[in-house]
Amino acid sequence: MQTLSLDYPAGAPAARRALAGVVGSGDLEVLLEPGADGRSTVEINTSVDGVNEIWTAVVDRIFADAAQPAVALEINDFGATPAVVRLRIAQAMEQAAGADTGAH
């Protein structure tokens, strides 16, 4: 297991908390809570060792827009691919913004 902490500039805190995914094979769990004003943090616990560079590249890209709501993310990963990572984080962000995605 490896852990990784990242942080990014962001806008105003997210409206509410949100949850997406499960710690199952090829999937991950995202716990999203409103962050401190102007700053998003991402704590990653992953079952796969030696992929910190990939994680950093994927999450950097997701948080490239500094105008996004500030969030505190906890990610518990069980071998998700970058595509699944992006989808789960987007799902949690949409829920936190109040959009009804129809998914839970």
Binding site: M1, V23, G24, E33, T46, S47, D77, H104
Partner: protein
């Protein structure tokens, strides 16, 4: 069934634990206890370098089903095969013990257990087993006050100590895809040999431990399709049924008589197991 009906049907098994619970409860009544943001996670998995889940794979929620107060305990099958650790087990045991206090105080709350579990989480051994023993004791005590409703829906099935919990329920609902057994196929093969039980023979495994066979032998009360609406309707009917009197599991004589009819030297086959589990009646016919 025509294709349009099949496509419109919503699977219960494909849902996660939280979504399953939400689908059973009356709209707007779900209130989760010890939700993931409480971060009540396993202290043992991280020490063994295993990623934890924030709710330890167990969802506890109060709510109502057709107006009746219920507490749902749902195991998430995707996390560690639904295995029960110290925290997840204690969440279920605690929820059941609170339901018992409520029932004894004249405020009945019906427990609904969604059991998709390989049994105790081996990494947590005795801590998980202790929690499972508490779950058994709570179910046995609750049955005098309220129906205890169990559902085994998915292919993970329900095994180990949690299969005993399923057996203790007053109403057990299962699908054809579900399996119920004390030991899983590989454990039986390892202990008894491949001639006794071939863990790669899937049709044989389902013929003996699958939902249909368990219904035919009386270990499951209701066989239901993997249809979220149909399962919700069966759960609602079981919740409304009231406490079971007398409890099926209290009939020890019938269970012993059944055991006496089983020939242990013979390799188990679905048909004769069904025959052996029939209860002979006074007029000589099978009930």
């Amino acid at each position: 069934m025509d294709t349009a009906t099949l496509i419109a049907r919503e699977s219960f098994v494909e849902r996660g634990a939280r979504e399953r619970v939400a689908g059973l409860l009356d709209a707007g009544t779900m209130r989760e206890l010890l939700d993931p943001f409480e971060r009540l996670r396993s202290p043992w998995l991280a020490e063994q370098d295993i990623v934890t889940q924030a709710d330890d794979g167990v969802v506890i929620a109060r709510g109502a089903i057709a107006g009746t107060a219920v507490v749902c305990c749902a195991v998430e099958p995707a996390f560690q095969g639904g295995a029960i650790g110290e925290v997840g087990g204690a969440k279920i045991a605690g929820a059941l013990e609170l339901a018992l206090e409520d029932a004894e105080a004249g405020r009945p709350v019906v427990p609904v257990l969604l059991l998709e579990t390989g049994g105790v989480r081996l990494q947590e051994a005795n801590c998980g087993l202790a929690a499972i023993a508490e779950i058994h004791a709570a179910i046995a005590a609750l049955r005098a006050h309220v129906p205890v409703v169990g559902v085994v829906a998915g292919p993970v099935g329900c095994f180990g100590g949690m299969s005993i919990a399923a057996g203790l329920c007053s109403q057990l609902i299962a699908t054809r895809e579900a399996r119920l057994g004390l030991n899983g196929p590989q454990v039986i093969e390892q202990e008894a040999g491949v001639d006794e039980f071939d863990s790669r023979d899937r049709p044989m495994i389902w013929s003996l431990t699958g939902g249909e066979q368990r219904r035919a032998t009386g270990l499951v009360d209701t066989l239901c399709a993997d249809d979220a609406q149909a399962i919700a309707a069966e759960v609602a009917a079981a919740v409304a049924a009231g406490p079971e009197d007398p409890a099926r599991v209290a009939d020890v004589d019938a269970a012993l008589a059944r055991l006496a009819r089983i020939d242990g030297d013979r390799r188990a086959e679905a048909e004769w197991v069904r025959d052996a589990f029939q209860t002979p009646t006074d007029d000589g016919s099978d009930s």
